[in-house]
Amino acid sequence: MIDENSLESVVIRFAGDSGDGMQLTGTQFSNTSAVMGNDISTFPDYPSEIRAPSGTIAGVSGFQVHIGATEINTPGDEVDMLVAMNPAALKANLHSVKPAGYIIVNRDSFTDKNLEKAKYATNPLEDGSLENYRIISAPITSQTIEALKEINVDSKTKDRCKNFYALGMTYFFYGRSNETTIKWIEGKFKSKPDVVKANIAALKAGSFFAENTEAVVSTYKVHSAKIANGDYRQIDGNTATAWGFIRASEMAKRPLFIGSYPITPASDILHELSKHKDFGVKTFQAEDEIAGICSAIGAACAGSLAITTSSGPGMALKTEAIGLAISYELPLVIVNVQRGGPSTGLPTKTEQADLNQALWGRNGEAPLVVMAASRPSDCFASAYEASRIALKYMTPVILLTDGYIANGAEPWKIPDLDTEYGPIATRLVDLEKIDYQTFHYMNRDDKTLARPWVIPGMKGLEFRMGGLEKDIKTGCVSTDPRNHELMCELRAKKIELIAEDIPLQTLEGADSGDLLVISWGGTYGSSVMAVRKLQAEGKKVSLMHMKYISPMPRNVESILKNFSKIIIPELNLGQLRTLINSKFGVKAKGYNKVQGLPFKISELVEAFKQELIKE
């Protein structure tokens, strides 16, 4: 007799050798769940070595899926079910499994050789070390081969189908339909009918095994989440960023140019844009980070919507050029997909420790706009918004994302483009509308202080510009002391004025209370879930998630006043906290973590609770 239980949400991690197809298996599980109406969030966990030896811990590749009947905002703290295709996968991921959590293991792979590669002295399936978990031990490899014995494919192909067998098991376990995956298999291997047959047979065999084996005593249902009507797709942060720029370019009627140098975890933005030459995107892989941004500056000089993408160490190299873009007053978007630092740091791990660098990391008084995206799908809106501000105000904008949201994926309600992502105005000079007698490239817009965008090719407006200080009126080189001060003030004022053109800061929760949680960037998911949990417990806690950091929305100061305490969780040692405290004279506390890992919801709940009870 199998019990059927209903769950609010469930976290599953598929783990195996790099060659076991775990990314694909995880993606199939999440797609099926999304189509069945669950909210989802996913996160891939690749080894940092490209081709680590098979069977070793370094070679383990994982994919975590969080599905829910309620809103899901993170890939999940702890794992309800681990699928471990070999001993190394078990060893590398056991720590993330909840006590009494399920572990599906491929029994066939627990050979002496594999145990040794995973550095197990004894077989964990036999030595009692897993007694706190619920183990479903299945001969996945042999059963797959058995199930495919009538199908005309070679033995290597049969072995490769074992991930679908494991997927079939999880489908039965969580009441998923096989249909979406079957359709995908049929499309993917259209030209190889035997491979289609083999994969479908493995998937079904896995489901049947789970149904018939006594090891499975319960199945679980995760009902559809109450999700707004509309068309949905999955999107990861880097793809969303790339697409946001394509849309902005189209809406600004300015060609898109990206000058970039490969760096983890930002390279996928360059890869994605390189695919879209049908949109006229010009992608330039430069010889280094400096050439990346400098080519983008050149493209901006010549009238493109220019962007450059990087991560911490690359940002450090771009610093001087960012100053030039500030001095030139050019539209330019610089994306920093943050990773652990300093120096090379933790390239494949996430962190939020580049905020100070973005705000202050340049010589001279060098203000610019700093924004941060909050989740994978928000990268689209953020890239579009960063472009809008850059083009309207003739300023560089730094857009901060991070490794966690860049690689994480979630369902995204496909937006109504016309209403949400419409035309973008630029300062590009219309030669038919100007009076040549009075026009000057330093004549600013009265309201925004933005200079007009004059580009080579415009007849009669030829001008020279440098990184040397410019006369406020003529634009010519000036070393006049008072002029320099005026120019510094003007550049600062221009950025401050943008506060008039960004949405007011919103809160999740009441606009006054005992504790205000301030988060920014990629920690939104865990922060909002933690705050909601406390709100449900009756605590007077609100969340202020910041997207705009320089300039800040005009109402931030007034919000702070209405709370007795403030806590700022950050994946750094307190960078936003220092800024908020010094800017507004408050005494916000920090909850800080620099382990290369995202926040767990549970640790934030605990931290906020502690802050609430403190005297």
Binding site: I290, C294, M465
Partner: protein, 338 residues
Amino acid sequence: MSEACYTRKDFCSDQEVKWCPGCGDYVILASLQQALATTGKKKEDIVCVSGIGCSSRLPYYVDSYGFHTIHGRAPSIASGIKLSNPNLSVWVITGDGDGLSIGGNHFIHAMRRNINMNVILFNNQIYGLTKGQYSPTSEPGKITKSTPYGSLDHAFRPGTLALGAGCTFLAKALDTDPKGMTEAMVGADLHKGTSFIEVYQNCVIFNDKTHDLYANRNTRPDMTLMVEHGKPMVFGKERNKGIILNGLKLEVVELGDRYKEEDLLVHDKHNETLAYMLVEYSHPPHFPMVLGVLYEKEQSTYEHMMEEQIKAVKEKKGEGVFKELLYSGETWTVKNDN
């Protein structure tokens, strides 16, 4: 192709030129202005891009579009300008410090990419703007402010470096020869690809007369060889000297009883090996400094290939439609009844 009709004066900006009196940069500026008036390119389509250093002030003095950028990065910024708008005529102005030291990486990559732009390197073999330190082209042992006991560095030969990096047009000129320089610049403008012109330029303050042996009007004819494609390599005040190929070596010979003009090496600007030899052999007084267009090669430009690739993708996939991109891959519809 163009109706543009200019004189040199049309390219003089309203800015006062602020180089030291007697600086070689004045002649380079005038030669460039003369060349720009000759190329037929429209003024508004011309962009001068420079880095940092004395030479890099030049864009302020040319009445066209000009960008004075940051140290060493002019080739990168110029690349972005040209790729963004291939219709522009882009000139990179740099020096031996700017182009070969801090900007060495961008220099070599610009050479290999072959974006259609012209790089003029003012080689005075010294840092002028920072008041006299040795540069990557200074001779070993040079006594400067930062090397009071002599520099320990070996020098780059900019021409060899450029050829090694894959440059498709190499010319050399003297700041005392505006005519030769203007011709090299016009040739560079006609060349489709990255053109590199090295100009031997005198710094009157920190490295005066460093090029004097071959640059001054008296010794120049005997110390330099102006090569012309398809012409025998003759030089000398009396045009009585020439170059022959002896085995794998170049040799200076006297014309007379033993050697006639027809015995001399004929310049072939398409011969890359010869170009290397001419750069490397240039060692006055033992071998004349070779000037003029040393090398030229036809090769597709980067920006042309970039445009072609975009065209080809658009022809195959059709013009991108953003909504279709959003709906690409798997999508699903959520429809709640309530």
